[in-house]
């Protein structure tokens, strides 16, 4: 009945779930439902649940529960969670992220414009004219994966990743856009930067944006960039 999930044990303390084989926002929505349903129904049984883009990992203590039981529990949760609306499991919030596009903060904006055959202004307009869904957070602290980018500006990632990308940088990689929560290496095409602090390890939670939430980008000028420097994303209102 829920044979569409691929659920496998790994390493003696992880159950990995592939929700579908290929990336699509429809699949992301299904992964979000399973994620929030597991958090709600199985939190007493599992240690941590982590989302990929179309998959999730359930970390467990094998002294408390075995993979075989957990696989059955996950399939049972999915049998009803797949039928409900995400809104019943997670009430999405909307965040506005101001961005200074181009220049030193967006060194790849001109590439994306050339790749798209558009002007830089059109790329900015297209990028900032829709609300994106937070697909997941990860690889580094507070990096948000957002989708889905307009296919006209869905430029491929860099061949060779940059060693150092400043925190707050906004990038594009195919149909995804994202924001670097902390300085890190990375291969996304950088089109701008937000002055907001996206991830603050000393706050609880360090970042308020959760999978399923919405993010809207708002173009700003250098003056506003300076004025908003250091404002926490959870405390900014446009």
């Amino acid at each position: 009945m829920s044979s569409d999930l691929r659920v496998v044990g790994s390493g003696g303390y992880v159950v990995h779930v592939d929700v579908c084989e290929d990336f699509s926002m429809e699949c992301v929505g299904r992964a979000h439902k399973l994620y929030y349903a597991i958090l709600r129904e199985l939190s007493g049984l599992v240690d941590e649940v982590v989302l990929g883009t179309t998959s999730l990992a359930v970390y467990y203590d094998p002294r408390r529960v075995k993979a075989s039981e957990l696989v059955a529990s996950i399939r049972r949760v999915w049998s009803w969670a797949r039928e409900v609306d995400l809104g019943e499991l997670h009430r999405p919030r909307r965040f506005t992220v101001p961005v200074l596009y181009g220049g030193e903060h967006g060194p790849d904006l001109s590439f994306v414009a050339r790749w798209a055959g558009l002007s830089e202004e059109e790329v900015i307009r297209i990028h900032s004219s829709r609300a994106y869904t937070c697909i997941t957070l990860g690889f580094t602290p507070g990096f948000i994966y957002l989708g889905e980018v307009d296919p006209r500006i869905a430029a491929p990632r860099l061949e060779t990743p940059r060693v150092r990308i400043p925190r707050g940088s906004v990038g594009i990689a195919g149909r995804m856009t994202g924001v670097y929560g902390l300085e890190s290496p990375g291969g996304w095409r950088l089109i701008g930067r937000t002055p907001l602090v996206m991830f603050d390890p000393r706050r609880s939670p360090p970042i308020p944006i959760a999978p399923g939430d919405e993010v809207v980008f708002k173009p700003i000028d250098p003056e506003e960039f300076s004025r908003l420097s250091g404002v926490f994303v959870g405390e900014y209102s446009s």
Partner: protein, 319 residues
């Protein structure tokens, strides 16, 4: 006061519960050695210790019980050589030095009371790339670290004859060459097909290895080149990724929380501690075990991390 020649950070057993925000677990690379270092000085096993690649010299400004574990380094208090894996009673003003011997790669210094420094998201583990946890960076000469205040004589009475089981020292100091690491199939084994190259070959730890991952050199897994980039999946310590060049990368303590490379194998957690002790040039091979066996060894390992098992010895070190 610290004198460092190498790379030293403060670590505990890791930062749990924040992977969903992209925060790596971090913590000691060889967790069992860190847990035993704490046990030998009377601390709970999750207290913060100093993790050292290379050598380090620490000057104590208070009386303390100290233990050095992880591999089998030479340990000196002043110019008196003492044994690793042993509680040492040190007077204020003593200098404790750790000098690598080639047996093992990463060493732990625990002090009674434990290192007391800024905890972020519930852990003092230093995540250098993120710049947070304890000092948020590697230790530098001249740094001063605080320890919790304890009644040192009481601690010494309790631990002076404590010793770890010999197997614990041996697995860290002399894990074999090649060392055998137990694995289960990884989350993408179905996409990679035949894993026999990985399971029958020897691999060598390369110098491009750090707290984030240990890179291995050896026969490439041919099927990896056809896969390219996959949708990002959650990743964890012990995942054996194979990028398109087919050469395995084992994710370690500071591993990213999600990744886009195929995961061929998953090293069981206790054996990631063994890998941590293999310096560049050392060899490994993989041995496939069942999921049930992996659950058994993980259960025993977690129990031992929480409650290290100490034995009683005759000699003691008092300097």
């Amino acid at each position: 006061m610290v004198h460092v020649a190498g790379f030293a950070t403060v670590q505990d057993l890791g930062r749990r519960g924040y992977r969903a925000l992209g925060v790596p677990v971090s913590g000691a690379l060889d967790r069992l050695s860190a847990a035993y270092a704490n046990a030998l000085v009377g601390n709970p096993s999750g207290y913060a210790v100093v993790e050292v690649f290379g050598s380090v010299r620490l000057r104590l400004t208070v009386d303390a019980v100290v233990a050095v574990t992880g591999g089998y380094p030479r340990v000196f208090v002043g110019d008196v050589e003492v044994a690793p894996w042993t509680p040492i009673y040190c007077r204020a003003g003593s200098e404790v030095s750790v000098v690598p011997t080639g047996r093992g790669y990463v060493h732990y210094v625990a002090v009674s009371g434990g290192v007391l420094c800024e905890e972020v998201m519930g852990s003092a583990s230093t995540y250098v790339r993120g710049g947070f946890g304890c000092l948020g960076r590697a230790l530098r000469p001249g740094d001063e670290l605080s320890v919790r205040s304890v009644r040192v004589d009481d601690v010494w009475e309790r631990v002076r004859k404590a010793r770890p089981p010999w197997e614990v020292v041996a697995r860290s100091a002399d894990p074999g060459d090649p060392a055998t690491l137990r694995v289960t199939e990884g989350i993408h084994s179905h996409l990679l097909g035949d894993l026999s190259t990985l399971l029958t070959s020897e691999y060598t730890v390369t110098p491009e290895s750090d707290r984030m991952g240990y890179r291995l050199d050896g026969p490439p897994l041919a099927t990896a080149s056809k896969l390219g980039r996959l949708p990002s999946t959650p990743t964890d310590r012990g995942y054996v990724q194979v990028p398109p060049d087919g050469k395995p990368i084992v994710l370690m303590a500071d591993a990213q929380t999600t990744g886009g490379y195929a995961v061929a194998l998953h090293i069981v957690q206790p054996d990631t501690d063994i890998l941590a002790q293999l310096r560049p040039g050392r060899r490994v091979r993989f041995r496939l075990i069942s999921l049930e066996e992996a659950e058994d060894v993980t259960s025993k390992y977690l129990a031992e991390l929480e409650n290290p098992v100490l034995a009683v010895a005759e000699e003691e070190y008092w300097t």
